[in-house]
């Protein structure tokens, strides 16, 4: 538990007056953040709040075992400060982002480059880390990849087949999603939140709505919280099933690939029973849900869910029974638990190195306070473990959904939100299917957004993919990449 007076404690999905977020001198603030991280805290968010021509730093730390979050802010600063990254690598991308967004220099940062820069040319036209040597060659891939996937650039330094280093340059999907938020919420904001990462609509939309509800000093009606939890697990099922299929495809195990491709669509169609859209659009609205799940619809959903779960169980069994699949996945693309903790991995990638990190369990909010899903953990940190965790989560989410659909709470699905508290800070974490989605909002004196920070799980996890490739054959990149399956747009905002 945090003992530092530089931090104020708050629970997930709640809000705090900005004046109660302790403000310390820069040195004290940095020291306090370091010691909280040393104590086992996790950096959930780290960003700047402009104040005239100066910037205040804000640090949000998660104490998973204590089910609590802690927030602190610095006095306004200009120029720079000694980088946290030197001692706490989990801060490295946050600090690059802070530098890009506000010009505050994290001094001594080992690799200070833009995160999503727009400078008239493409992000990959910058400087890359290079390994020298006569036998060393460089492989550049992207932004446009071979398949139908989002754009990003990968630069490998290889000695023969072996990857010595992988650098990932993103930003191609940058649409200004976060930049547009101050002064909001705007008319388009809810719709932009649903498309921050289109495969994580429930994750981001729920986090956004939770932030607004916390700012309004209220909660969505219980029935809406329940429906959000149901749709969140449907989103997880669809994506995990798709990932198992894609992994099977990459090792040429076609039965599971073709079955999962279809079953993934079946899960998406279940979401469409709720809202008409396969990607959960319109389900979450600040104050509740945009649609209700009437009993007739619910029983239709239940029936189809049971069938799809049986199908996916069957397809996964073929997959796990095949020695050829296991042989390709074991000891490939390994990230050790200590590395995972150091770089701040979240979600599936973290649980696959044995780290028990799951917002639904660590920081339960909404319906997860009443209905629990067991955390699925697998040691190993390799492609096998990441596939395994997905497989386990398919079973557990399926079980959870079956229970929940039979016991819906009664009541309203929506209630109009009161106005937002002015000058307040709200934090919401949601366990999206990839991992922790973190939204932080700070309101101004009129209750409008003064600052809004979005952190997609991919923001934490891309470095995990880069580490997984070290010492791995470059030909194993596809299975390593699929085993993480990170979001480009969620990172690029």
């Amino acid at each position: 538990m945090s003992t530092s007076t530089a931090f104020a404690l708050l629970a997930n999905g709640t809000c705090l007056p900005w004046s109660e977020v302790p403000e310390s001198s820069l040195a004290e603030f940095l020291q306090a953040t370091r010691s909280e991280l040393d104590r086992g805290g996790r950096l959930c968010s780290w960003f700047g709040v402009p104040d005239g021509d100066a910037v205040r730093l804000v640090s949000i730390v998660g104490f998973d075992a204590d089910n609590t979050l802690a927030a602190a802010r610095s006095a306004p600063i200009r120029g720079g400060y000694p980088a946290l990254t030197l001692t706490h690598p989990q801060a490295h991308l946050f600090e690059r982002e802070l530098w890009e967004q506000h010009g505050i220099v994290p001094e001594g940062h080992p690799w200070l480059k833009p995160v999503r820069r727009i400078a008239g040319d493409a992000p990959a036209n910058g400087e890359f880390f290079r390994v020298d040597g006569r036998e060393v060659h460089e492989v550049a891939v992207g932004p446009i990849h071979a398949g139908v996937i989002e754009p990003g650039h990968f630069r490998f330094q290889c000695a023969g087949e072996e990857v010595l280093h992988l650098e990932i340059a993103l930003g191609y999907q940058h649409r200004g999603a976060e930049r547009a938020l101050p002064g909001g919420p705007h008319r388009t904001t809810m719709f932009q939140m649903e498309t921050v990462a289109g495969d994580t609509t429930m994750g981001h939309a729920t986090a956004y709505a939770t932030v607004l509800e916390a700012l309004a000093g209220t909660e969505a009606p219980l029935r809406a919280q329940w429906l959000r939890a149901v749709a969140l697990e449907l989103e997880r099922l669809a994506n995990h099933t798709g990932d198992i299929g894609a992994l099977a495809g990459d090792v040429a195990f076609l039965p599971t690939m073709s079955a999962c491709g279809k079953i993934r669509g079946d899960f998406l169609n279940l979401t469409a029973i709720i809202c008409g859209n396969r990607f959960s659009r319109g389900i979450v609205r600040p104050g509740g849900c945009g649609y209700d799940l009437d009993p007739d619809r619910s029983s239709r959903l239940f029936e189809k869910l049971a069938a799809a779960l049986k199908d996916v169980e069957q397809a996964a069994t073929w997959f796990w029974d095949a020695a050829s699949v296991r042989g390709r996945f074991e000891n490939v693309g390994t990230v050790h638990a200590s590395q995972g903790a150091e770089i701040g991995l979240v979600g599936v990638a973290a649980r696959a190195c044995g780290l028990v990190r799951d917002v639904r369990f660590d920081h339960p909010t909404g319906w997860h306070r009443f209905g629990q899903v067991p955390v699925a953990v697998w040691p190993g940190g390799d492609v096998f473990a990441r596939a395994r965790v997905r497989s386990l989560e398919i079973q557990r989410s399926g079980q959870f959904l079956k229970e929940q659909l039979l016991a819906p709470p009664e009541g309203e699905i929506f209630s109009e939100l009161p106005p937002a508290t002015p000058d307040a800070l709200a934090v919401a974490l949601v366990e999206g299917w990839r991992g922790e989605v973190c939204h932080v909002a700070l309101t101004d004196s009129a209750g409008k957004f003064r600052r809004y920070k979005i952190t997609d799980p991919s923001f934490h996890n891309w470095t995990g993919l880069a580490l997984a490739l070290r010492g791995t054959a470059v030909s194993d990149f596809p299975i390593c990449n699929k085993s993480f399956n990170l979001s480009y747009c969620g990172h690029d905002l």
């Binding site: 191609y172 498309t195 495969d199 609509t201 069957q314």
Partner: protein, 269 residues
């Protein structure tokens, strides 16, 4: 053992590819609503309630004239349908939405209550692409959902390759581009290069509200408001994201392979 299991299971399931377009298409989810229809004659004396309801400013009014709804900007949120008391804006439940020209997505004027469905490519291009169309997909500043539903057409349920349509890795092997996303400034160069690399004659298909107009991010300085700002678009498929059936309909319509099924649908009313 698992080989036998796999085989028996597959045999038991039989063919999972849908019969469409040789039979009726699968129904859209009942809450989807399909394409919108705007009957401006029902629009009572300029209440304009629909205009502020729309998140993407898809609806406007020519002063003194009828309202105009741009389906290229539409996210299909149904807010306008609910806002319109006289019922001038309605859902058709029709999955068919692909058009050849941007202005064919503008609804409202007399005679233009509905979108003007795409005509097939001309004879020469149909001869070239009608039975074999290779597309290079370029994802440029979207959310990944359009990509997912473009991809799903390749799965066994839809089996796009039975129409001779497939996605290829190199633009040099492609007959055209299928663009998704708002076209972020950061993807402008890559999209141009991909376009230049496709040998002529070539086509461009814009899938989803983002690729048509910028979608939910319309007007952001970080984006170029759709594919049309960089490459010439031959087919627009609206939606956020479009249902796979809508995308497939667009592709087949462009290749002139739906005339039979249209006749069937017209007969069924």
């Amino acid at each position: 053992m698992f080989v036998l299991d796999t085989l028996t299971h597959r045999l038991k399931r039989g063919c999972e590819t849908m019969a469409y377009p040789h039979a009726a298409p699968p129904p859209l989810p009942d809450r989807h609503g399909g394409a919108l229809r705007v009957d401006a004659s029902k629009c009572a004396g300029g209440c304009s309630d629909c205009i502020p309801a729309c998140p993407t400013q898809a609806i406007g009014r020519i002063p003194g004239g009828p309202i105009q709804l741009d389906l290229g900007r539409c996210l299909f949120c149904k807010a306008c349908v609910e806002a319109c008391e006289p019922g001038a804006i309605q859902q058709t439940n029709d999955h068919r939405m692909a058009v050849r020209k941007r202005e064919d997505l503008l609804l409202g004027a007399p005679g233009q209550e509905e979108l003007r469905l795409a005509a097939a490519l001309d004879e020469k291009l149909r001869k070239l692409f009608g039975r074999s169309l290779r597309l290079r997909q370029v994802s440029a500043g979207g959310c990944g959902a359009c990509e997912a539903d473009v991809n799903v057409l390749g799965t066994i349920g839809w089996d796009l390759s039975r129409f001779g349509i497939s996605y290829v890795a190199s633009p040099r092997h492609a007959d055209g581009l299928l663009v998704t996303g708002t076209v972020s400034r950061n993807m402008e160069l890559a999209l141009k290069k991909a376009w230049d690399a496709v040998p002529a004659p070539k086509i461009v298909i814009a899938v989803g509200a983002c690729a048509i107009s910028g979608g939910p991010f319309i007007g952001h300085p970080e984006i170029l408001n759709g594919a049309g700002s960089v490459v010439p678009v031959d087919l627009y498929i609206p939606g956020c994201p479009p249902h796979p059936l809508t995308i497939l309909d667009g592709l087949l319509r462009l290749l002139g392979r739906l005339e039979n099924s249209d006749r069937l649908m017209a007969k069924a009313g």
